[in-house]
């Protein structure tokens, strides 16, 4: 049980940190309650983590998240944190429930119209380009370093240009997303298409398989883990692109628009509600791609061991 020593250490560190943060405040009772809550829930989490339960695997993070939310709520309540700095979670939840209409419209505008259409076009274009690049070795040697270079650049900066070209509506957001997702998917797909070993390719040629046969039966399936890696990176990038592009101009609907105007009105509960939507959309989007990956690459060791 040497591990418990570290747990006690982290517990003490957490307590000290909180004590330092609140040492300036006058509300001693509130501080004591918050610290007590933290201690009890952390202790429960320690017990849970060492219990060896099967359910602890998902219960522990849920409990941790709930602990944070509770501490947040208590802090706001006891210290009268003004709304313009940090709204309480209960307030955010209330705002979320009240304005599902607006949130849904923003979701449709930004995620479905801007993000998803750009994601599909960008990933599709990258996939086709990757096949072309893979076919011609000269292109591969030339385009791959350029693509690698582009994948590291702050492509979000193209947003003002594309907004200027394609107008304020969702088309310009889709264009930003296309540019953002293109290079990561391209680089990963090209890397994946080179994944097969010489032995496997030789086997295909002993079967007298032509290019497309060996492509669909051997190299594309072998590339799938890499392709999905790129697709998963691209999900986050797509949302980032769609939201940030709206900071450069948008119709009066959309998540980025709502966030920037609500921040201007100091309506932070609305901003947090949009952030909740973005978080849910982001995880759901990622989750769908991850599920598709599981279905397609069930044979791969990284999927089998789970």
């Amino acid at each position: 049980m040497t591990l418990t020593r570290y747990n006690i250490a982290t517990l003490i560190a957490g307590l000290l940190g909180l004590a330092v943060i609140f040492s300036a405040g006058e509300n001693k009772l509130g501080l004591a309650t918050i610290l007590l809550c933290w201690a009890i829930l952390w202790f429960a989490n320690v017990k849970l983590a060492h219990s060896g339960w099967k359910q602890a695997k998902w219960l522990a993070p849920v409990l941790f998240g709930a602990t944070l939310l509770l501490l947040w709520e208590l802090t706001v309540a006891f210290f009268d944190v003004p709304l313009v700095i940090l709204p309480a979670p209960s307030l955010i939840a209330a705002r979320f429930v009240q304005s599902t209409d607006i949130l849904w419209q923003d979701f449709v505008q930004t995620i479905l119209k801007g993000g998803l259409s750009g994601y599909i076009i960008g990933c599709g274009a990258a996939f086709l380009t990757a096949i072309l690049v893979d076919r011609f070795d000269f292109l591969r040697r030339g385009l791959l370093p350029v693509g690698n270079f582009m994948a590291a650049l702050p492509i979000v900066g193209t947003a003002p240009i594309l907004v200027m070209w394609y107008g304020f509506n969702w088309q310009s957001k889709a264009a930003v997303v296309v540019v953002m997702v293109f290079f990561p998917v391209l680089v990963n797909t090209v890397a994946g298409l080179r994944e097969t070993s010489a032995m496997q390719r030789d086997l295909m040629s002993t079967y007298a398989a032509n290019y497309w046969q060996s492509f669909f039966k051997l190299r594309l399936p072998a590339a799938m883990p890499f392709i999905f890696n790129g697709l998963k990176i691209a999900t986050t990038l797509a949302l980032v692109g769609a939201i940030v592009a709206e900071f450069f101009g948008s119709p009066t609907v959309g998540m980025g628009f709502r966030i920037s105007t609500s921040v201007g009105q100091l309506a932070l509960d609305m901003v947090w509600a949009e952030i909740v939507v973005a978080a849910l959309a982001g995880s759901a989007f990622y989750g769908v791609v991850a599920m598709a990956e599981k279905a397609v690459t069930f044979w791969h060791p990284s999927q089998r061991e789970k």
Partner: protein, 304 residues
Amino acid sequence: MRVIVPVLTVLAVIVALWYAACIPMNIKGVLTEAERAGAEVNPPGAKDRRDLGAFGLVLGNSFAIPATWEQDRPRLPAPHQVAEELWNTTVMKKITSKRSLVYHGWVTLSATLLGFAIGTGLGILLAVGIVYSRVMDMSVMPWAIVSQTIPIIALAPMIIVVLYSIGVQGIIPKAVISAYLSFFPVVVGMVKGLRSPDAMQLDLLRTYYASPAQGFWKLRLPSSMPYLFTSLKIGIAASLVGAIVGELPTGAVAGLGARLLAGSYYGQTVQIWSALFAAAILAATLVAILSVIEQRVLKRMGMA
């Protein structure tokens, strides 16, 4: 040679395509200007030209093609215009000037570096905590992974306004966003790295009767280095994006993000493009510096 020739070819093709794209993109503006200056344009009148395709206009007015590369406020500036603007605003201007890209670049870079340092420092600490504490592993790690699927950048405007309302301004809010963006890649990469020694190596240290601290300094930390550098390279690119985006919502007056925003407000396309290229060069330089350090370190440690 095996790489340089194809790369140069690809770059040349890109530049050629760029020049070609300038023609249809800018032709309408050029023709309007030419008509105002008294030149004969086919068909005359901006109204008639509005419905025509750009390619038809180019075919009918081939005399205007060179002018599409020289416009004042083009829809798409030609490469040499961007290069000229970059040269003028970096080398030709004093670096203290408000129009110098070096000045704006430094404003963004300082926030990026500060944020990156904070983010990686905290990220490594949290990773150590996760590797050594079962509770933290079970309760914090899933959230660190989930947070990577969330467009964290949506928080940027709020962080700035909230920090502003409690009296923190200047470099700190941008650095906070940068730190936040570089934090999670480093946590995830570093946890993987610290766990990369296999059971055999860990057993060996046990037979040496090594203390946990020795195990950390002599085995886990060294073997995490390749993972650390990979995530540092992702992290610094993310930090730069964070610093740039952090400049957008507040109407900051200095920084590459501010140049992008001001350019888009006033239709100064050349300014936008040069700010964009400056950001790209900055990102590429930062990643390249990290790669060089990575090679040096890994070579010294006998891993590369």
